[in-house]
Amino acid sequence: MTEQRTRGIAPRSIGTSLDRVDGPEKVTGLAAYAVEHGADEGVSAPLSVWLVTSTIAKGRVSRVDPSRALAHPGVTAVLDHTNAPRLEQTDNGELAILQDDRVGFRGQVVALVLAETSEAAREGAALVEVSYEPEPHEAELREDNATYKPDKVNPAMETDTDEGDVDAALASAPVLVEQTYRTPYEHNNPLEPHATVAWWAEHEGREVLSMFDSTQGVHGVVQALAPMLGLEPDQVRVRAPYVGGGFGSKGEAHAHVMATVLAAQTTGGRPVRLAVTRQQMFSLTGYRTATISHMRLGAGADGRLTAIEHAVQEQTSVVREFAEQTASPTRMLYAAPHRRTSHRLARLDVAVPSWMRAPGEMPGMFAHEVAMDELAVACGLDPIVLRERNEPDLDPETGKPFNDRRLVECLRRGAERFGWADRPPEPRARLDGDWWIGTGVASATYPAMKQPGNTARVTSLEGGRYEVAIGSVDIGTGARTVLTQIAADALDVAPTDVELAIADSLLPSASVAGGSSGTSSWGSAIVAAAQLFRADHGAVPAPGLHTTASAADDPASEAYAFHSFGAVFAEARVNRWTGEVRVPRLHGVYSVGRVINPRTARSQLVGGLVMGLSAALFEESHRDPRFGHVVTQDLATYHVASHADVLDVDAEWLEESDEAFTPMGSRGIGEIGIVGTAAAVANATFHATGTRVRSLPLTADHFLE
């Protein structure tokens, strides 16, 4: 494998709305998701596994009585901490299940039931009798218990930052906004629940573990599991040909994956499969912590910021740490000489939080961008003018120049399309029948990320065709399609001449489909391999030649800060009798580098806007601190936007190409659509009603008069 410096590629298929290459399989139902694989792929006569989960939040399992379960027809085995296979490593507390009797949160896996059918397994699970020695637990995030300072915040950022003299600057600031903003627990809830199939076999005298998993990264699953199981990575094979969404919750292996693997270890080679229920997803597959953001903005009367402080309180789990990087966007968004950010956590006896769509940026930008709206009001400025006045010359966080910062253009372009100029400056100025009407704006930003560890392989086939292989996963975003386009343009052939092989850990390694980094990271590796292939084998290669390469870092790019930007505009209507909020218009304008496929890009951005709308108005997981688990644990009680809520939602982007970042000119699309959206909606509800709501979701009760 070689590291190859890439050159920019000439877009031909890139920039066109190539149909999704896997569209026909999906709409005809032929695409097989994790638990749907059959005997032709090695999954013959699988046993079903059902999880038994704890009904206390903290303590010990004193006894597991499997006798009634084992007596149930079809049940073949019950595993608990006394008889489950042992792991080699147990430091990942989320994955090291059934290794001891400790219970760290309500909903933790305490036993597994294997059975001939999923129905028998489920009934068996209900018949397992678990006794506990409970201990007092703490499951509530409060300002007075979120005091623990983590070493870093996700993924490896500084916990605190402090520049200048924030307190002095705030004390002397002519205008001060000092408020606390809150976001609730949120759950990712992809359409396809988490699911895994696993079986063990022997191959040339070595154990081999094979899996189908609904995951955002097959190599990540191998890397997480192999050392825990005492295996070399090449003894584990994970495939994920189709995945029904993840939104971060499938970014890392969760406990159910280990449950399936442990169960499969006991069946003498017979495959086992497990699909997590929707209710179980609320304690086992990750979520976003609730956040409390204490914001202080100091500014001159002209709105120019002199000081920004963002102090975050949130939670993690005692079982495994995850510290959401909530203040991270505040570090780079606007200019101000004095700036301070911090993160403090409550370590609770609760399920393990994890990545959820724009971790950090999403809750952090809600706080910051509502605070900016409050500052605009305090200074008597249009919110767009306020943001223009606080544009930094250099990245406030690193001091580097931005490669391409077009936030102001996004704001201006959006204002023009949205009709911002007609907006009355005062809130509570327009009543249409029973509805107060208002508009709001917010900035969006998301870092452009390229992950290390990506390699691609190009192989010449008969008839001028090529196989392009990389182990990346298409979680429904359209990655299969855009990687085909990138490969085609990099090889200078038609997309139909590219046979893309993905989603298998036997293929060259690929980073996770997360952080909006997939297309940049995998695409750059594909371009590197394609360009090296051409250099080695020419334009008309014999069939069967291949080249494997990864993209070398471009040292020149070290000089820049790379971020995407956007501006979100919302119109809100608030019923003057009932307080109900509806959002008839939601428009975003984005600067994201070159758009590789306008159709799939639009789906990502519009989808992000809808997700942001959903967070603005509805999404909230209610954790009952008395029990420790989320009690709104299905889609009838955890509300996401319905069709009737999604009206005129639209996204557009600035034409551009960022070749300093990737040879395709793209920077990454996905999470930026959700960032800022909730703030834009909240700001619009303030403009409509004059009532400032500083916590999500913006439910009707806040606006009752």
Partner: protein, 333 residues
């Protein structure tokens, strides 16, 4: 897997006999509530008596004992009920309440009787790992001091604070509907208002029916053409959400004065709440904003709230005011 006996009786009579002779038997109609409960472990019947194919699916005007009624068969699907021309023209409150419920797919599946007898959506009732007096009498009420957003503010007890989730039932309460029941001792009629009960110390009983009582129809006394009616449902999500509160109202004006007003509330109690005190306060007067607010406050005099439900007082007051002002506007027009 739990073995279940599934029976499909030929007649209503046979259905009643089957359920009365099997203590563990339950009627099954569209299944959109009961099947969920089987999966969640909330219900564990050993016999399902499928009544959905019994010929109880007509909507027809018939002569009742006290005059003409619109008779709606127990198996009329929610979608068909909402679309029926007589329901739409004479009982808009019923059509709108039905359409306000669930989603298109569920309304295609859900039956009239099944809708009335759907059980609470209280998150603790549906979570078998928490205590619930309604699911398991005597275990305690987890909703007290817990997630309260959908809890009752009227008529709750120390044993249960939940609300009845049906929209249709609220619409029917406002039009003085009667439920036709076939029991082991033959047919009888119950006022819809008396079908559901307050929890008291027996929250396990949602209704006054016996387990083997089969609802065969619902009857709506025909109304004058000068009676207007409508249904307002308040919810955060624009569709596919249970009511935070809802208001069903009918109004007949005599000149500028209220001839007859009927008001029923959803989302506030263990049953559709007929606001009789408010009705009495308004009858004979005009429909003005202050008068409606005052009448509502009279009805709410006994309301009890906590942090989670406090919002409902203002929400019910405002929504009732909005609804009656709209109806009065329609009348004057």
């Amino acid at each position: 897997m739990r073995a279940l006996d599934y029976r499909r009786p030929e007649s209503a009579q046979e259905a009643v006999e089957l359920v009365s002779s099997h203590p563990g038997a339950r009627y099954l109609a569209g299944g959109s509530n009961l099947v969920d409960h089987l999966k969640l472990g909330v219900a564990a019947p050993d016999v399902l008596v499928d009544v959905s194919r019994l010929p109880l699916d007509d909507v027809e005007e018939v002569e009742g004992e006290d005059g003409a009624v619109l008779r709606i068969g127990a198996n009329v699907r929610n979608s068909d009920l909402a679309a029926h021309p007589v329901v739409r023209s004479r009982f808009p409150v019923v059509a709108r309440a039905t359409l306000a419920g669930a989603s298109g797919q569920i309304r295609n599946q859900a039956t009239t009787a099944g809708n009335l007898l759907q059980r609470t959506r209280c998150v603790y009732f549906q979570d078998v790992t928490t205590a619930c007096n309604k699911r398991k009498p005597g275990t305690g009420c987890s909703a007290l001091g817990g997630y309260a957003r959908y809890n009752a503010i009227l008529g709750a007890s120390a044993h249960c604070v939940t609300t009845h989730p049906s929209d249709l039932a609220v619409g029917l309460a406002a039009v003085d509907a009667t439920v036709v029941v076939l029991g082991v001792e033959g047919e009888r009629r119950i006022r819809l208002e008396d079908l559901h009960r307050l929890p008291g110390d027996r929250p396990e009983a949602d209704t006054t029916l016996a387990a083997s009582d089969l609802i065969t129809a619902v009857e709506l006394p025909m109304v004058d053409t000068d009676t207007r009616s409508t249904y307002a449902k308040v919810r955060d999500r624009a569709s596919f959400a249970f009511a935070l509160v809802s208001v069903a109202a009918t109004l007949r004006m005599e000149g500028d004065r209220v001839g007859e007003v009927r008001i029923a509330w959803g989302g506030v109690a263990h049953k559709p709440w007929r606001a009789r005190r408010a009705e009495a306060a308004l009858t004979g007067g005009g429909i003005e904003e202050d008068a409606v607010r005052a009448a509502v406050d009279e009805e709410l005099a006994t309301a009890t709230t906590d942090d989670g439900t406090a919002y409902k007082v203002a929400m019910v007051r405002n929504t009732t005011t909005m609804t009656l002002l709209r109806l009065a506007g329609e009348v004057r027009r």
